[in-house]
């Protein structure tokens, strides 16, 4: 085996692995990117039933209902509101009036079925996506009120 040919083998092996990796990356990006949407975004551009995404906003005051380990509440950005159902134990810092990010999908009745409600580590922490989308909605508010 000549030097050149040996080198070629290694280059080919490397290319093959990189190629496989690139293919894996591209295919899995297609179905594992999870988009973030606020209730207002959803009113503007609905998301198909069954498609996984993250919903963020505030837990609406007085909206939390509990039946055993099944929770129902509404997520709002103070403009639009989305009903959510979650089965499980809610994270420690889940509160009415506080920011929340839930991952899941819509069922055919327009209820968001959360598979996961994200925990926060800190009471003062507002998920940045939520803060941003709420700010958009919030700055829009005063005009709506006047």
């Amino acid at each position: 085996m000549t030097r050149k040919r040996r080198r070629l083998y290694f280059v080919l092996a490397g290319m093959a692995i990189l190629g496989v990796a690139a293919a894996l990356v591209l295919t899995s990006f297609q179905d594992s990117l999870v988009f973030f949407r606020s209730p207002s975004d959803l009113a503007e551009k609905p998301i198909p039933v069954g498609r996984n995404f993250r919903l963020g906003g505030l837990v609406e005051d007085g909206s939390v209902e509990k039946d055993g380990v099944i929770y129902q509440f509404r997520v709002t950005d103070l403009v639009e509101t989305v009903p959510v159902t979650f089965k499980g134990l809610l994270p420690d810092l889940f509160r009415e009036g506080q920011g929340v990010v839930a991952e899941g999908h819509f069922n055919d009745k327009g209820v968001f079925i959360a598979s996961n409600v994200l925990a926060k580590h800190d009471e003062n922490y507002m998920p940045p996506e939520v803060a941003e989308s709420l700010k958009k909605a919030g700055q829009w508010m005063p005009e709506a009120k006047n």
Binding site: M1, R3, R6, R7, Y9, F10, A13, G14, I17, L18, V20, A21, L24, V25, T27, S28, F29, D31, S32, L33, V34, F35, F36, R54, K66, G68, V69, K87, G88, L89, L90, P91, D92, L93, E103, L118, A119, K120, H121, D122, E123, Y125, P127, P128, E129, E132
Partner: protein
Amino acid sequence: MVAEIGQFVLILALVTACFQGVLPLIGAARGNAPLMHFADNAAFVQFVAISGAFACLTIGYVTSDFSILNVASNSHSLKPMLYKVSGVWGNHEGSLLLWGWILALFGFAVALFGRNLPDSLKARVLAIQGLIGVGFLMFVLFTSNPFERLDPAPLDGSGLNPLLQDPGLAFHPPFLYLGYVGLSVTFSFAIAALIEGRVDPAWARWVRPWTLAAWGFLTIGIALGSWWAYYELGWGGWWFWDPVENASFMPWLAATALLHSAIVVEKRDALKNWTILLAIIAFSFSLLGTFLVRSGVLTSVHAFASDPARGVFILIFLIVVIGGSLLLYGIRAPMMKGGGLFAPISREGALVLNNLLLSTAAATVLLGTLYPIFLDAFTGAKVSVGPPYFVSTFLPLVVPLIIAMAFGPFLPWKRGDLTGVLTRLKFALAAALLFAGVVWWWQSNAPVMALVGMGLFAWLLVGTILEWAERIKLFRGPLTSSWKRLVQLPRSSHGMTMAHIGIALVVLGITASEAWQTEHLGVMKPGEQISVGGYDFQFEGAENVAGPNYEALRGTFIASTGGGKGILMYPEQRRYTNPPMETTEAAIRPMLTADLYVVIGDADGKGGYATRIYHKPFISWIWIGAFVMFAGGALSLSDRRLRLGAPKRARSPGAKEKALTGAKG
């Protein structure tokens, strides 16, 4: 007073680091011995100074001196002593001080243990360490000063996030930082080699212990972090592919690759440029990790301090360090010819495969971690890249890696014989098939990946043990001669065997716990009993109890298998007062065959409590495996050859290497 002393010694350390970063480089270029030796002293002074600063901050915490802003915002007089001490590095400023202290510690260690290094190389390595120190100390002093005063001092501090008040997390950052920062030494060696324009087997041998140490600490650090997530976050997961976790995982992947490629440099004098590049990349990942965590560019469940101003500083620092070193690499590396090519089927061929797979895996993790930033920057869309992405890209790369892991050690250097290896591995193959078969027979509805995982576990475990048995010629002669070989073989080779077995155990733990976990979620009333994973869980009731700085709702469960005595379990839901916060304390019973995991939630108002019970088979083996890997690294590090007898560099280097100007013989 203590704060002012701390501030002063920190400035002293910065000044020392400036000199350490410049003078030895000049000395090495001019062949001036006193200037080169200055590096040793400077490294010592810098270490003592930062130790002093660290001690000052610790005193501030232990004595609850709330006139120091950092102490007031992160500590509280009622906090248990352990967490007062761990509180020192449980916050942004303190953790950076810890970073700087470990950096100085490693610099000092190089000065201390590097007696057999050539003067010029040692001077350059220490100078690079000094320059990194300059950057970090400036960062600490100008953007994150831990000694800032608070006037007037509050009566009490605002406390440490209760989630961080935990023994696992108390020791997680120090280990992780020992790993991150340990890679700085390898980095400095790589830069020094680029400046000198030579890399040879002796260089690889000098670098190896540092890489090994950093790798071992990273392994333990990551394991502690995932263990903390497992029992403290209360949702039973142990790895979330969260940006912060990835930030520690990428340097680990790079360090693992580096560890293996350095062997090729050492034994075969090949793969030099690649090894240098890996050393730079590994440390770059460490810095990138710091950037991602500290700047708030990526949001994460772990982020506990973030600030764009600091982000700017870190990013400039990153550009200077990583960009500068990669540029130096681009200029100098083409001049470093060396080493031959080799046959694809050989030990070095297998190590190249290992490197290709590991670095590709690191690249896919990097891409998945940074992609949300890219998309946000270009389109403004907010996305998160979920675990499915990492699982579906990472696993296909890891499976061939594990298959090759059993192969590689069998192959001789230079030229191997695949069929010969295959015949010797036939037991491992048989074991893998048999084991997967037994599992399938026992759990016929098991997912395919579970069978693959169990097969890989058996393959790697048996293959590794076979190779070890062959090395000591077990059963090929009298046991006494095998024993002799066992003792005489270098410890580093036993270390390798151990580390590979550790990986096999991790594979077992991950596969079994993912595939056969059972869980129950529901409301339980006192006296109710539920069966999960072959255990009967009896809920006895719940009561309110008081802890040192919290109140808790504590449930009592008895888990039993029908026969023997029951296992008492007490999950809690705690309410801390300073700062006010609730945490879930899962009750976990770790056993070799499975973990029992019980969480108690809110009362439903009708006498019942929301509960979640998991049965997680073999999950402990993930951490046992990680510890075995660490122990393998430690065993290898204790090898005599690495510690003392590091050989003198060959007097007359190869003609090719001499071609480079400035190469010193």
